[in-house]
Amino acid sequence: MADDARKKEILEKLRNGVIQYDEDACREGANAAVAEGLDANEAIFDGLVSGMEEVGRLFEAQEYFVPEILMCADALYAGLDILKPHCKQMDLGVKGSVVIGTVEGDVHDIGKNLVKMMFDVAGFHVYDLGRDVPLDKFVDEQLKTDSELVCLSAMMTTSMVGMPKVIEKIKAKNPDCMIMIGGAPTSKDLADKWGADGYAEDASNALKEAIKMVAFLKKLRDEKAAKQ
């Protein structure tokens, strides 16, 4: 087991690897974490996710834009792919599966992929339906997988209008399912009007919302650990 100084160094490498979109650094950091017996969950949250939180901040400050975020995401995945097989099942009292996709008529999936990344990080089981997904497919997949969360994404006004139909159908069959909508043309008003439980208007907001959610999960984990 690595000592505290070494552990800090590895976490820092993972964090900076994400911020500086350096895939190699993330891979090295992740390999070191595994080889030296760091807790994989800790390496993910205190290394990779912590880096992504800073990326979110840089985006908000308009120092980073979407191209940078996409590269940071690649770096995060480079580390995550190595760490994930070593993760312990997180016992958070949530089952954690999500159906996600871009609605029919829309072929944009960047925002969707960023949100998906955060669910991956949080250990959710992600059913990614991809893009240009027929509306009924969301409903069927939710029923089939009994997922507690469905995320619908649209980049174009012209494809967003399919969303209320999906929300209505899912809520009719499964009122407890949470639905998050996202994409440039969506708004809090539309989410309320259509009966969605959450919304994110752009990739950064989606990322922020997802980070918030994952940060919340992390808090639960820490609290649980503190009690033990």
């Binding site: 308009q62 834009f65 979407v66 191209p67 940078e68 996409l70 590269m71 690649d74 029919e104 008529g105 829309d106 072929v107 944009h108 999936d109 960047i110 992929n113 240009d132 174009m156 006004t157 012209t158 494809s159 967003m160 209008v161 399919g162 440039a184 043309p185 708004s187 008003d189 539309l190 009007k193 752009d202």
Partner: protein, 342 residues
């Protein structure tokens, strides 16, 4: 002064009796489609149906233009992409690109504009639709068309995800691709001009300042965009979506006759920045106001646009076809009532 004279005089910065209300983007309505007994999926593939539908927004509501096409896939299709018009969809789904042309970085170097480009895809059909539309309502309103901006087109023919990353990592490679896209767009615009359009809107939607830094916009997006706009000899409008306040000066520098902005742009600010002479079109929210807003909201939005200093009241995106007819009427009524007051 009829609508055609009003809009053309506006483009020439001559005196007009009131602010016009028109668009350079799609503006067909379900009311118009139903009146003609057409299906949305059909009008993209038939010059007659496309032109007849495009004329209805003027004929039914007095909207001050006629614009074709309706979708955003004309150039990409002529480049060789396969499009999906969703022929069996119940509701309204706009055509999308089914298959990209560039699947990896290496293919960015090998892509070429097909020989005989002006006869590819639906470009001949577009010439026909423009001519039909002009013959139908061309004496009463200005007839417009639109092309994509180079970056937006590049985002259709390759993965946007890759394009964005490469515009950071390998800007030279992307610049070369954007230049090729610009050439394809220039060829497309030439055909539209030959068919007789009065104005062309260049829609660089993918390059919003929500996505790319002003620096990347200036270094990478501007040069090919400028090339496209320079090549257009009729009136041109440059449209960019999103929070454009930081780039409106660049947009003007690209050289269009007018710029078009959406509701996320603070027009009063833009007006201050660009001066009283600049033509700024905008910025009615094409969905939250025109489709789901009340008639009162439509009217107050029209007034706010005028008070903020738009040169023309103009939806910030394609009008979504399910716009209630009473909202369309409210917009046109308010423009005649309030449009001459400033």
């Amino acid at each position: 002064m009829n609508s055609r004279e009003r809009v053309l005089k506006l483009f020439k910065k001559e005196a007009i009796d009131r602010v016009p209300c028109f668009s350079g983007m799609g503006n067909i309505t379900e009311t118009g489609i139903n009146e003609l007994g057409y299906k949305f999926a059909g009008i993209h593939l038939d010059a007659k149906q496309m032109a007849a539908t495009a004329a209805t927004t003027y004929k039914l509501f007095g909207f001050e233009c006629g614009v074709v096409p309706v979708d955003l896939c004309v150039e990409a299709e002529a480049m060789g992409c396969v499009i999906n018009v969703y022929p069996h969809a119940e509701g309204i789904l706009y055509p999308t690109i089914k298959e990209k042309l560039i699947h990896n970085e290496a293919e960015m170097d090998t892509i070429r504009i097909p020989d005989g480009f002006s006869e590819k895809g639906r470009i001949p059909m577009m010439r026909e639709a423009i001519k039909l539309l002009k013959a139908d309502i061309g004496n009463d309103v200005a007839v417009g068309s639109y092309v994509l901006g180079p970056f937006t087109l590049a985002g259709q023919i390759m993965e946007l995800n890759d394009l964005l990353k490469l515009s950071f990592k390998k800007a030279d490679k992307v610049a070369k691709l954007l230049d090729l896209c610009a050439d394809a767009i220039i060829l497309t615009a030439k055909e539209f001009e030959k068919a007789g359009v009065d104005y062309i809107t260049v829609r660089e939607m993918g390059a919003t300042s929500d996505v790319l830094s002003p620096r990347v916009f200036k270094n990478l997006i501007m040069p090919p965009l400028q090339k496209v706009i320079k090549s257009i000899s009729c009136h041109s409008v440059l449209h960019i979506c999103g929070k454009t306040n930081d780039i409106v000066t660049f947009m003007m520098e690209a050289g269009p006759t007018a710029i078009s902005v959406e509701q996320k742009n603070d027009v009063a600010e833009s007006r201050k920045k660009l001066g009283s002479d600049a033509l700024i079109f905008g910025n009615v929210d094409a969905y939250n106001v025109l489709v789901s807003g009340s008639e009162d909201l439509v009217r107050s939005t029209v007034r706010k646009c005028i008070d903020d200093g738009v040169s023309a009241v103009w939806p910030g995106c394609d009008i979504w076809p399910t716009i209630p007819p009473q909202n369309m009427k409210a917009m046109m009524d308010e423009i005649t009532r309030y449009g001459g007051k400033k």
